[in-house]
């Protein structure tokens, strides 16, 4: 078991957005999170990543936890591609960054400053960070934004490899990835309803 959510409720800015989310994710599986803008996809991923506590419910993760890839790639404009990736590899205790660069077709760009990368190339570098993070559960927020068709294919190849090695992924996306291992979940079903009096914001309402 890679991830288990038990009756999770999450809030954004003090306002509940999702409630009663229960799901499990096994090794080798991917789960696509669907839902319109504002449905709470990002909030849910941030909650699972441990950046914010759930309002209620239980999250079970393996001890080594998850690697989170947000909208922002966490790149430094004045560092080169290799320096950016090397930094995260050191933080996560990974060794060689060569395979990660190669997997995302970044090897030819390794000495280029991140500020001179196109949006898609930056995204690829952000995704390459997942490979050096060595976490079995990936939490991906719109991973394919600004990627061209070839890059999406590259990403799917990397993702499949990750799943085949016993990893798992939770992916918020709007496009169809066409993954065999993937199931889908629509957050619309868990939209938080207007709470009963006294149900949130302390005992104020």
């Amino acid at each position: 078991m890679m991830l288990e959510l038990v009756d999770i409720s999450v809030a954004r800015g003090g306002v509940p957005v999702l409630e009663g989310v229960t799901l499990t994710l096994g090794a080798g599986r991917a789960l696509i999170i669907r839902g319109p803008n504002g449905a709470g996809k990002t909030t849910m991923l941030r909650t699972i990543a441990g950046l914010q506590p759930p309002v209620s419910g239980r999250i079970v993760l393996p001890p080594e936890g998850a690697a989170y890839a947000a909208h922002a790639d966490g790149l430094k404009a004045t560092l080169t591609v290799a320096e950016n990736l090397r930094f995260w590899a050191d933080i996560f205790g990974a060794g060689d960054i060569g395979p990660a660069l190669a997997a995302m077709a970044l090897a030819p760009l390794r000495d280029r400053m991140a500020q001179n990368l196109s949006a898609g190339q930056k995204r690829r570098l952000g995704l390459a960070r997942l490979l050096v993070a060595q976490r079995r559960l990936w939490l991906l927020d719109e991973p394919t934004v600004s990627l061209d068709a070839a890059s999406v294919a590259l990403f799917l190849q990397v993702l499949s490899g990750h799943l085949q090695q016993g990893g798992a992924a939770l992916i918020a996306t709007h496009i169809s990835l066409g993954l065999r291992e993937a199931e889908e979940i629509d957050l619309g079903a868990f939209r938080a309803t207007a709470p009963r009096a006294g149900a949130f914001d302390g005992a104020f309402a």
């Binding site: 941030r46 990543a49 441990g50 950046l51 914010q52 506590p53 936890g65 998850a66 690697a67 989170y68 947000a70 909208h71 922002a72 790639d73 966490g74 790149l75 430094k76 404009a77 004045t78 560092l79 320096e83 090397r86 930094f87 995260w88 050191d90 933080i91 996560f92 205790g93 960070r129």
Partner: protein, 218 residues
């Protein structure tokens, strides 16, 4: 953690990193003071330790918002918060990097600027020592202030308002040490107090700052 230190140092020294800006500010402030108070050597000599300490403090304050704000903007702070190293260490290392890129150069530049202000001979040693031992406290206190305001869009001014009162004890002991040194009085007591504040700030404030960052990332 070494990687984080090296990255922050590298970022500070690359183009747009702001390294040198603090030094230039320190220089300009010091040059402006004689224009304000007049060129009379005795007056300048008397106020030199205080001016240099206040100048170093303001120069250090200028670059504080870079400690966390840039990492917050580009998403690195989220990733660091989910990384295997504790957030307290991240804060401590980033504050150390801030000191190495601002406090240390300021300390080294201060004796040269002290010449401009006619600082008496014995003051040079105590000025340098007090800055060397006191500026780390400025970086660590500043990191705490930066952590409090990291989630705010334009937090710079607010951060100054929060950080400057916290700087008061450091400034008092630091400048007093330099002033007593310049007057050839015993400067050991304020120096010890200064070291105590620095050690306390380094030991305690990373925890408070990390707590503030966690709240701000929520």
């Amino acid at each position: 953690m070494i990687a984080l230190l090296l990255r922050d140092l590298r970022l500070a020294t690359r183009a747009g990193g702001g390294f040198g800006l603090g030094l230039a500010f320190f220089l300009i402030v010091t040059v402006l003071v004689p224009f304000g108070v007049g060129p009379e050597g005795g007056t300048l000599a008397r106020i030199a330790p205080g001016i240099l300490w206040v100048g170093a403090l303001l120069a250090s304050l200028l670059s504080l918002d870079r400690i966390f704000a840039l990492d917050h903007e580009d998403g690195s702070l989220d990733l660091l918060a989910t990384a295997p190293i504790p957030l307290e260490s991240v804060v401590a290392v980033k504050a150390l990097a801030h000191w190495l890129t601002t406090g240390l150069p300021l300390t080294l530049a201060a004796p040269m600027l002290a010449v401009l202000l006619n600082l008496p001979g014995p003051g040079f040693f105590w000025l340098t020592v007090s800055l060397a031992l006191g500026t780390p406290a400025l970086s660590y206190i500043g990191a705490f202030g930066a952590a409090l305001t990291v989630g705010l869009k334009r937090g710079g001014l607010l951060m100054s308002l929060l950080v400057l009162p916290l700087y008061i004890p450091t400034l008092i002991y630091g400048a007093d040490c330099a002033r007593r040194g310049a007057a050839a009085l015993a400067a050991g007591t304020p120096l010890l107090m200064l070291v105590a504040i620095t050690l306390g700030a380094v030991a305690i404030l990373p925890f408070a700052a990390a707590a503030a960052i966690r709240v701000n990332l929520r």
